[in-house]
């Protein structure tokens, strides 16, 4: 009297109840299947829509000027100029923030994963990381203003980088911890049994085994941080140009880091909310560049890793 009797070879046992059940089960299964496909398609379409719109609006304003000029005010020749200062500024801020945030985050993650057994510090640290990861970035900005900008006297790049690092650390720590935990315990045991110290095991076996995933976590953190506007508004401020002490130069002088520092996101915000039409187009182009930047960063890291990473 069950489904099974209907699917076995031999004389079919006709039973209304089981037939109806079977049809219903198949129908339900088909509906779920189509629903999953449908939602996936919808999401991909939405993504394509957003990206397409962005490309459409941004491409119109992409030109060499975008990468060569800083902002040129209306009325001066070469208006509206470009976003060189923003691009260079964001890249600089990312590098500075990463140099602080990634080591600290990774070491915290390693601590939470490898050294946390028997330690009373581990659970509070983990909890705090989770809480900090969800703090709104504008709060980080205000915090940075009070703690960094006020004592330093003015807005500057260091404050901006530290605020970004503050956002980065919990993300990197938690993802590193999760990825290291996924490495099978048997690797650690085998390494220890061969007479390796714990540090050697972590450096030479555990981390290399988790490299791909850890890098993904780091890239996620960088991508998140590259797109932050609110904290930079408070800490790095607004700057419409980036020039050396003695005039325009492609390099950043240390002096620049102590003054309000430009960034792509803040500049795009200023342009987009401003009144001038050409600058609005420039803002779109800037956003497109930002997205492309992150995309290229990801791609480059993935490609480099793929050659070394032995599965």
């Amino acid at each position: 009297m069950s489904i099974a009797t209907n699917t076995l070879p031999g004389p079919r046992v006709r039973s209304i109840g089981s037939e109806r059940y079977r049809r219903r089960a198949l129908l339900f299964s088909a509906i779920m299947h189509q629903a999953c496909i449908g939602f996936a398609v919808v999401i991909v379409l939405l993504l394509a829509l957003v990206t397409g719109y962005l490309l459409y609006l941004g491409c119109a304003s992409i030109s060499a000027n975008l990468f060569l000029e800083d902002v040129i005010p209306k009325g001066m020749p070469g208006y509206p100029g470009g976003l060189r200062h923003g691009i260079v500024g964001t890249l600089t801020l990312i590098v500075m923030a990463s140099s602080v945030g990634i080591p600290m985050g990774m070491l915290t993650g390693i601590y939470l994963s490898e050294y946390s057994s028997g330690s009373v510090l581990a659970a509070p640290v983990r909890f705090i990381c989770d809480v900090l990861a969800g703090v709104p970035s504008i709060v980080v900005g205000i915090l940075g203003y009070e703690l960094l900008v006020r004592p330093m006297g003015n807005q500057n790049a260091y404050a901006g980088a530290l605020a970004l690092a503050f956002i980065m650390i919990p993300i990197v720590a938690r993802t590193t911890e999760e990825m290291l935990r996924l490495v099978p315990k048997s690797y650690r045991e085998a390494s220890i049994a061969l007479g390796a110290s714990k540090a050697w095991t972590i450096l030479r076996v555990v981390i290399p085994a988790a490299t791909g995933s850890v890098v993904t976590g780091v890239m996620l953190a960088i991508a998140r941080v590259a797109g932050e506007t609110a904290p930079l508004l408070f800490t790095a401020g607004i700057s419409q140009y980036l020039r050396g002490v003695h005039g325009p130069s492609p390099y950043i002088h240390l002096q620049e880091l102590q003054e309000p520092f430009p960034s792509l996101t803040v500049q795009a915000y200023i342009f987009a909310t401003g009144p001038l039409k050409e600058q609005k187009y420039l803002a779109w182009a800037g956003i497109l560049v930002l997205v492309l930047l992150i995309f290229i960063l990801n791609l480059a890291v993935r490609l480099t890793l793929r050659n070394r990473h032995k599965v």
Partner: protein, 329 residues
Amino acid sequence: MVYMSQKMIDTSEKGPTFSGGVAPRQSAAPLRPESRMPPVAVSASPAVLTATPAGDGLPRLPLGASLERCDTHADLDSEPAIVTVKDFMLFYARSKALHGVNMKIPMGKVTALVGPSGCGKSTLLRSMNRLNDLIDGVRVEGNMYYRGQAIYGGGIDVIGLRKRMGMVFQKSNPFPMSIYANVVYGLRIAGERSRAVLDEVCERSLRGAALWDEVKDRLHSSAFGLSGGQQQRLCIARAIAPDPEVLLMDEPCSALDPIATAKVEELVFQLRGKYTVVIVTHNMQQAARVSDYTAFMYLGRLIEYGPTNAIFFQPHRKETEAYVTGRFG
């Protein structure tokens, strides 16, 4: 200190009888030549051995003589010991896993630890190279001595100890690196950089593990490309590459097919003399095939310990006899 076998008077003339045992007699010689064997430590009547429990069909261990006394055959007194376990007790948080184990691992021989699941043989093995330190909440009393030096406490260099004891695990666990990198890992830890030395040791270890011919053309390919049996032999090669004195093997064949098992057993047989091997196994026939000495453990206690032939064909304890004849476990 080695426990001497109990000198209790045996009530029956011929000693305990074997009933329905799996182990056949090897020779026509009488089972118990009285001139050689010490009296049996049996306090219950022989009838207990022949009775099978009725009703539930579950095998039962006939608990007669106290489990706390270990019966160590006199043959072991003459063997030089490389590891001595003395009154060793181990606690996992609250529960006691090992109760006062005393044994001497003879140098250059293969010693098998047998017993039913959960009897503590893997725990004992892992305690020898202090791998149980990795587990939280483990507490140890008593001590073990490696060449006279205390393993627990006493300022021993744990890393040096582990370098002298290679370990092979139940499930093969090659690192996610190339075969070559796996085998020379132990040497790289020690700081060896010379490519010539590493190459030579790699070949020697892989030959020793009977894997060289199969992998010599693909030393730098990933270790995961090997089959299960090959991976286990790779782990053995990795363990013997730094030339340890003692090889600890925790059920190395339990995840392998019979052919791979035969290869590993042959390997273990060949390793004797140069290495001391302590092998934990569930498989009675395997223990009989490869080991010189066998230790039978039950419920965290060492019950009997002696030459393999004696344990299998002339055990002193009826618990041992019940186990080796397949009555339980």
